[in-house]
């Protein structure tokens, strides 16, 4: 009873105290929102200006004639009609890019996997070998391309010189429309380091006891590779196929530089504006053509239409790969 006065004293003000608390809580909530907004503000501005706006504007420009000098003029679906009926070059470019997706990407994944397998089996010097295989991936693409155009130079390049010693007449590589894409593939295989590192990490993570129990069941090395290693690293295979495909669809620098240098070597009076795709449009990949249309010819409306098609195709191919992967990718823990 002795505390009653104190209690009633406290009970005198409950409505206002609760109101204070509510108001304080509200203020705190607003403060927290402002903090989040403050921290997110660089990205909000950046995403708006450099992703959302250009994405929408690309679709708009694809329905216009636009050359940067005059304001864009609405021409309806004319760009798309030209693309699907008259433009001869674009389907060659699409074919070149699909060649990369169908041939270069599987080769690259296979090669990365093979090198990673060899690396994890080596008992000594893993650090040394890993550095050797990883370094080319870091070489700036322009420098690496220049190096390969020189190495594969038909007349004086060391590769054909070495082949000549063995008695093989080397091809013209970057100078032959049939060999330019394989030559580029060699260059891209040299830069396989990133994919390889991911495979090494995945291979090291495969639980040892799986191999041991498989061996106890009488599985040989090949069977263990097929039934233990491959399922265990299948998520990484999927990842590298998806990333490799996205990269292949965007290949620009190596093709651009190789064509320019190889064309320059062929005719000493190199005219840099007509070299793209050399020889005979065999290295004219989709992004190269997009660059040529947009920023050499300033057909920017048409380049925007090409960009829209590129976005759609990239999404479609990625989706198809991921969809099909459900049949062969196994995630640890049984979840599919």
């Amino acid at each position: 009873m002795s505390i009653a006065p104190a209690t009633t004293g406290a009970l005198d003000r409950p409505p206002s105290a609760a109101g204070d608390r509510r108001r304080a809580r509200k203020r705190a909530r607003w403060r927290r929102r402002l903090i989040v907004l403050g921290f997110m503000s660089p990205w909000v501005v950046g995403f708006g200006f450099f992703v959302a706006y250009p994405l929408i504007a690309t679709v708009y420009f694809s329905f216009t004639h636009y050359d940067l000098l005059e304001p864009a003029r609405w021409i309806g679906t004319a760009n798309y009609e030209y693309m699907f009926s008259e433009d001869r070059q674009i389907w060659g470019a699409v074919k070149n890019t699909l060649w990369l997706v169908a041939i270069m990407v599987p080769l690259k994944v296979l090669f990365a996997f093979g090198v990673a397998l060899m690396l994890t089996r080596a008992r000594r010097g893993i650090g040394f070998f890993r550095a050797i295989f990883y370094l080319p991936a870091l070489a700036p693409p322009v420098a690496a391309t220049l190096g390969f155009v020189y190495l594969l130079n038909p007349a004086t390049g060391p590769v054909n010189a070495v082949l000549g010693v063995v008695g093989i007449e080397g091809p013209l590589w970057f100078g032959d429309p049939g060999w330019s894409k394989p030559a580029l593939t060699l260059l891209l295989l040299w830069g396989v380091g990133n994919t390889m590192i991911i495979f090494v990490a995945a291979l090291v993570d495969v639980p040892r006891h799986l191999y041991e129990s498989a061996a106890l069941d009488g599985a040989g090395p090949l069977q263990r590779l097929r039934w233990v290693t491959l399922p265990a690293i299948s998520p990484v295979i999927l990842f590298s196929v998806v990333i490799g495909t996205i990269e292949a669809l965007q290949l620009f620098t190596q093709a651009y530089v190789a064509a320019q240098i190889a064309a320059g070597s062929a005719s000493s009076a190199g005219d840099p504006s007509n070299d793209l795709g050399y020889p005979e449009d065999s290295t004219l990949f989709y992004p190269v053509l997009l660059f040529q249309q947009g920023f050499r010819f300033f057909n920017m409306g048409y380049a925007a239409a090409m960009a829209v098609l590129m976005l759609v195709v990239t999404l479609a191919i990625t989706l198809v790969i991921v969809r099909n992967s459900r049949r062969w990718v196994h995630y640890a823990g049984g979840g599919r």
Binding site: R32, M40, W43, A57, F61, M118, F133, T156, P287
Partner: protein
Amino acid sequence: MSTHAPPVPVAPAPIVRRQLPRPVRRRRLLIAIADHSLLIAATIAFVFPFVFMVLTSLMTTDQALSPKLWPEPFRWSNYGDVFDQAPMLRYALNTLLYSGLATIGMLVGSIPVAYALSVLRWKGRDAVFLLVLVAMMLPPQVTIVPLYSFWAQLDMVGTLAPLIIPNWFGDAFSIFLLRQFFMTIPPSYIDSARVDGAGELRILTTVVVRLAKPAIAAVALFMFLFTFSDFFGPLLYAGDEETNWTLSVGLAQFRTLHQVQWNITMAATVMVMIPVILLFFAAQKAFVEGVTLTGVKE
């Protein structure tokens, strides 16, 4: 992991190794040789391009045109001649400007965003993170037409500013990596800082940044390497303005523009590769240290 005491060594049960039968031993040896010979062959193939680039960069002009592979005499002055052929120092300075400002800007713009996407809790966070992933996967070619026209209206085409400025608003890939790392920081560290009365900005600059040093070093390194090697960006925006060329653009035009021989071209190529190789060996150590220093995992 460093906090764990080493496991008490258990006395190994004595294993009596039976001498393996001879055919098994021979087969194992052959397999080992086969394995390693493949590895050795692959190693040679991977080193081969580097070796011949360097060898050619030391040849005389006449010799570079001949099929001979070993330089005689060694012509070291090729490396000096590179600077007479093209303003390499100018290119290097532009490259450093681009790489440096883009990397600093990326850190300033990305770290707070990664913090808001990992440490702070709010409605819609996962949806926004999904948008970051979408931005990361978007092919750069898809947005260049409007972006180019945007920078042209600001009269910035011809400079490297269109490549530097966007990074100050955060880079999707860096935000993604940093966010993944920030997620591994135990909430107890952050809660105890909050109990001590630290505001979010203080927690970010003291607790999180200190714990995430290896991740921050990694994204800075990736950004630096990417911008140093970038060709498409500088070609697009500074291609017509030689005073603003970077090393990549200058190197790509080197042979065509200056009609120089392969030996000088290879010397320039090797010079552009050297900083990257040095950075790799320097940073490899930093990476290993960074990984071992993270006592974050409990």
